[in-house]
Symmetry: C2
Subunit: 240 residues, 2 copies
């Protein structure tokens, strides 16, 4: 005899099933917690635990109140859910930075290849602006990192793939804190050189995208990512 199924797992499984078979779609509202409880023959607490699990997966959202605003709805909060999940697992990975870097290379090579073929003038303009800001004076570390992230995300968006974009954001965000710590460990001169290298490489990637050369863009972005991480070897430690 297998384990007795948990009440909250029954509820979670039922709702997941209804999402998978399409009978629940984005925007739909679930029955009220009290109704779900009687429907499944469990307590309201069990229903709430199931909803918390689904919420962590980024597929539902709850809000109080009567009428249309209140209740639990099906949503798509994939970016948030993936980011949180990946961030925790990167923290637990314990010295597997290599794997994360390899994933970033895979994702961003793909984005660069596709973006080179379909990037719009507007997207190029956005990137150009970001590159200019990164070259600006008086840009502190955190701002620079944000601009850097935005540039990479802009490439992913130009590839017109929300899934890869979300993963790119999640990977990047998972490493934000440790990267910041590693950069702060550099001397002022080392950091200036590092930043200069990043800007130069970014501009090379941009030129390749503008020229529509996907293979060149992919190669450049791979080199860029590997260069950035090998310049910050302290990343393996990364406490607090």
């Amino acid at each position: 005899m297998p384990n007795k199924p948990k009440a909250f797992d029954i509820v979670r499984a039922h709702i997941e099933e209804r999402i998978l078979d399409g009978s629940l779609d984005i925007g739909d509202t679930l029955a009220a917690e009290r109704e779900l409880a009687t429907e499944f023959g469990v307590s309201r607490g069990a229903v709430r635990e199931a909803i918390r699990a689904l919420e962590a997966q980024g597929v539902v959202e709850s809000s109080v109140g009567a009428g249309a605003t209140g209740g639990t709805r099906i949503i798509r909060a994939r970016t948030r859910a993936l980011t949180r999940l990946l961030r925790l697992h990167v923290a637990l990975a314990d010295g597997r930075l290599r794997e994360v870097v390899e994933l970033r290379v895979a994702l961003e090579r793909s984005s660069a290849t596709l973006a080179a073929a379909s990037v719009t003038p507007e997207a190029l303009e956005t990137m150009r602006t970001l590159l200019a800001k990164m070259r600006g004076e008086g840009v502190d570390i955190e701002t620079f990192n944000r601009l850097d992230t935005d540039f990479h995300v802009a490439i992913a968006r130009a590839a017109d793939n929300t899934l890869v974009t979300d993963l790119t954001i999640a990977v990047r965000e998972s490493l934000r804190a440790p990267i910041l710590v590693a950069e702060q460990g550099l001397s002022s001169g080392e950091y200036a050189d590092f930043r200069g290298m990043l800007c130069e490489q970014h501009e090379g990637i941009f030129a390749a995208l503008e020229a529509g050369d996907g293979e060149d863009a992919a190669q450049r972005i791979e080199t860029h990512i590997r260069a950035a991480y090998s310049a910050l070897p302290v990343l393996t430690a990364a406490p607090e």
Copy 2:
């Protein structure tokens, strides 16, 4: 004044923080639910909701009983968490199969490239066995799909990257049900041709890996993935 923070979110955030800063690591046991409740000044129900969220993220696991066996522990259940999350979001994606295919291409090109450089004789032997079974007589659709998945996962494992492997599994698993439906929509002859094509391409990929030609392996696996999906165009619909 922003929204009043939810009790369960406070607890979740605290525990996540302790994972991120390294003070909680895999194998560690959390305080008992009743203790956490008093510690954070919330009810036990709120603590349980937080734990359910963390459980959905694949970082904790609970079991009953006194002593060392009972309690809530930090674990790494990344494969399960990623698979569930991605499966739900693929179901909600609504005609964005293209994005999933593109992600698969990115992941598996990376795996093929790396695997070609470092694959072990044992891993090659595993792959060879899978290929032989796929060529066998009397293999039903579901079994074939399982073998197919195993072959692709074997390549990811050979690339020695657990993160990419988990994502490969998650992507594949997210499409398992819809793929099965699509295949069952093919005529007997069409399906036989389809299967033959997959086997042939698998064998080509294997040969490239065995020869240590990463670029060839990557190109072949990309062609393989794209060919498989364009042979199953029904995938966009895919209701229950």
